[in-house]
Symmetry: C2
Subunit: 221 residues, 2 copies
């Protein structure tokens, strides 16, 4: 019995995304994936060669999807147009980016994209360069472009360190969600979490940036 062309492959990929995201590479068996995809165990090896190749295919497909999803949700401004924005527009753009990433990462249910990304950070595989080139580097470059327009006095290396303080909190609330919820006694982040926390993180970052800029200008001790 043969289905629509490539359907088995697609079903396997979908199931693999979900299970690898939830339980990790070693915590997921090929049989589990085949069972959830409702296909034969051997299909996985037929279509992907090996469990590891399937995993890499999952990562590749997701890293591309993350940028696409992010682009859907946030204000779109090509890098070359950033130079023409005024301060208010730059701030709005920054908040839009932070909030979009929060929405994508800490939405309900917990994002598979985010979990796969976090797993790849913690246990890098052969797909790490793909994650870096397809997702991290573009994100960081775009953010740097905005920041250097906002605060032209900050040199490049310092700007990159400032980015730690801007991306970090988003990663943190994503990764530590179970712990933070346990600590607060809540069952789940409130519905407006991304909106509210995104605004706060943006303001915090603007203040941080301003202070770093003042120091760079030698205005502050």
């Amino acid at each position: 019995m043969s289905r629509v062309p490539q359907e088995t492959r697609a079903r396997l990929l979908d199931a693999a995304v979900e299970l690898f995201a939830e339980q990790g590479f070693h915590g997921t068996s090929v049989r589990d994936i085949a069972l959830r995809a409702d296909v034969n165990v051997a299909s996985a090896n037929y279509h992907f060669g090996s469990k590891e190749d399937l995993y890499l295919e999952v990562l590749r497909s997701q890293f591309a999807a993350i940028r696409a999803r992010l682009s859907e949700r946030r204000a779109k401004v090509p890098v070359e147009e950033i130079a023409g924005l005024d301060r208010d527009e730059l701030v709005a753009l920054l908040r839009s980016r932070i909030t979009a990433m929060l929405e994508l990462f800490v939405g309900h249910p917990p994002s598979r994209h985010a979990r796969l990304m976090l797993r790849e950070m913690l246990d890098p595989s052969a797909a790490l360069p793909v994650a870096v080139d397809e997702f991290m580097r573009p994100e960081i470059e775009q953010s740097k472009a905005i920041l250097s327009r906002l605060e032209p006095d900050i040199d490049d290396e310092t700007l990159e360190q400032c980015l730690f303080s801007m991306m970090g909190p988003v990663i943190y609330v994503t990764l530590a969600r179970p712990a933070l919820l346990l600590m607060s006694g809540r069952e789940e982040y409130p519905a407006d979490f991304a909106e509210q926390v995104g605004r706060r993180m943006t303001e915090f970052s603007l203040g941080g940036l301003a202070r770093i800029a003042r120091i760079a200008r030698g205005e502050d001790a």
Copy 2:
């Protein structure tokens, strides 16, 4: 042949810490642990009951160790004395805490403490409440005490969100180390990374806090 009492148990625990930190629970076999500990396979089950119990024991032992290690490295001030510090002392205390955590987490070689902690965040086990109670909650409470002295105008909930922006970057550079190194083309973080980045993160946070405080006071749009 019997060794010093409890030595086998201790050797197993040491080996387990290293392997679980490096490869995770599912990525590590009991035989690997026994092999590295240079003891018989059955010893693991004899001393700990099961692989899972051994894992929980590893986590418990490490969470206690993390706070102890942190306390060694940073300025020690009991919570009740924070109320008596002036601004410069508070700032120095804050930087001391951030730098100490950076040193512990991103030192060479990569900290087993940090990796186990990150794993527990990503895939919580029965030990998560221990991690929260033994490490996260005390750390956060102490930080909150310092922050609320620095900026008394910020309400409690907002202060907790500001903590996202202060702890987050430390977690981020720990978790994303391989990716960040790959992106920068470097082999390893520079030797003064904790010192330099810690200073920057502290200044960034001070600026962020100040801006949130201004907004709380209604001074800023």
